[in-house]
Amino acid sequence: MKSFRAFVIKEFKHIFRDVRTLVILFGMPIVLVVLFGFAITTEINNAKIAVLDLAHDNYSHRLLDKISSSGYFNIADDLQSYSEIEKSFSQGDIKLAVVIGENFGKKMINEKDADIQIITDASDPNTANIVSGYLTAVIQAFTLETGVVKPPKVTVKSQMLYNPENKSVFMFVPGVMTIILMLVSAMMTSITIAKEKELGTMEILLVSPLKPYVIIIGKIIPYLFLSLINAITILLLGLFVFQIPMHGDYLLLLSEVFLFIVSSLILGLLISAISDTQQAAMLISMLGLMLPTILLSGFIFPISSMPEILQYLSDTLPAKWFIIIIKSIMLKGAGIKVIAFETAFIAIITLILGILTVKKFKIRLE
């Protein structure tokens, strides 16, 4: 027990004496959350657009007022002819051009059918889709408002449950938390064990009465502790800075976080068992863990639009299920019954990896 305590204290000293480790441990989470929360966002604010108003009547002016007052768009360029559209796209950084057809007002009143053309810059398809979607919504609202055009008989009203304003930060915070926990737990643990191998200290530890499980648990405990602190920091940032609602049970949330950390730690141990240098451990964690987690967990790219094979692959990632769990608890207020399947899945994967790790741990050098 005394040697175990000494081991854990030694681990903490390694962590707190290495500036790089500290930066990764405590700087990264905050930077990532803030980056994803503020900078990388799929929401549209003040997107620059160009306008070609061929009508210049009362209605077209009202429509343009409506567009510019929506807050989503900023009319940066007032064009005079079709030929200027191309130029505007290539010169300015406009995301979209809108063309109001001739006799816009008259057509609206007399024919109940007026023309508006939206031209987007599809070299960035995601943004193009989103801005044209926003603009269509604004124009629809305008037509309803004028009362000139009767709404069609079937009205589709979609409602965004759990995230009514479609805020991307609701998606990013659980995603970032998953990545950070993976990074801290799996990557850092694998690196610290590989470091002992690389520096030769593992050779001395092995030739000592220390039991292998003491070495393993002694390595895990500090990172378990630090991962929990990180998770709580990210949660607090999400709750208070980004105003993510918390409808579920805190204890349940923290237990799920704990489970995920343990599963990541064991993954890290497994990686360290198969890599002899810090670089190898880092590469395997990066390519084998971080990339799949970022790309396949549904954090950035929707799983439903992936090829079928990748969808199956993403099913095997604890990260995917963890993101679902976090969102269910926080946004939907789900209880353990709702997320039982996801939880059981992570638990089983953890168990399998655990057994594998114990089998793989070498009591010798070969």
Binding site: K2, S3, A6, F7, K10, K13, H14, R17, D18, L199, G200, T201, E203, I204, L205, L206, V207, S208, P209, L210, I363, R364, L365, E366
Partner: protein, 298 residues
Amino acid sequence: MIKVENVIKNYGSVEALKGVSFEVEKGQLYGLIGPDGSGKTSLFRILTSLLIPTGGKASVKGFDTVKDYKSIRKIVGYMPEHFSLYMDLTVEENLQFFATVFNTTVEENYHLIEDIYKMLEPFKDRRAGALSGGMKQKLALSCALIHKPDVLLLDEPTTGVDPVSRKEFWDMLRKLKDTGLTTLVSTPFMDDAELCDEVALIQNGNILTIDTPANVAAKYPHKLWKVETENNYKTLKALDNFEEKISAFSFGHSVHLATNDNVPEKAIREHLLKSNIKVDKIEPIKASIEDVFMELMR
């Protein structure tokens, strides 16, 4: 205390040890002498239970290195070839850590390391990574000794250490021997060998000879000359067609020439003069372990 019987170690198709046998008595300071790549480290890893031999068996204090690896790990003090302490921990923290890992305290066994540690004490708050080579090695030795091991296994402890520290280190090993500690130490330096009680010369995974350093040197079968000239290379070249030559090697500023017993100094001098080489000095010398090693490797 240490028994190695016909130990073979293969890494794939590479044969690192080809049937090595030797025995170390209790209280001996035993030297394993050989150049890099001769299999010394493999042997140490087998003795510390870190590697399983491909063939043969080894034991330390009666414990088999494969079966009883747990017992072995309690009784040996091991210093691997490369400095293996925690660079980011201080001198004192390293020592305390290894003491605790072996279920003891620094205070309990301080008398064992007192002589060595006294030299380190002024730097006890310095991180191990910031120590000089000689200091690092003293710290590593302290850490290997702190749990009062029955057997001390030192793999090339003096490689990369300055001559003064090297001498100090060997003085310490002699002192430790006086306390009854059994020590197996490997080194590529032939002059280290003279300080051991018994040495085994190892080359390419084979033991060449085992004896006391004095006897090893006395085993040299030829007459040996130290030849000092203006240029070693020219001398060696000129000696190529010297009929009485058995072997000639460059040793620092001179050439060690082995000849048949009845060759007079004059014959050598005349042969060299014939090749227009200015001879400074030719004298008969006693063979050192290095000469024996060169002879055995020939």
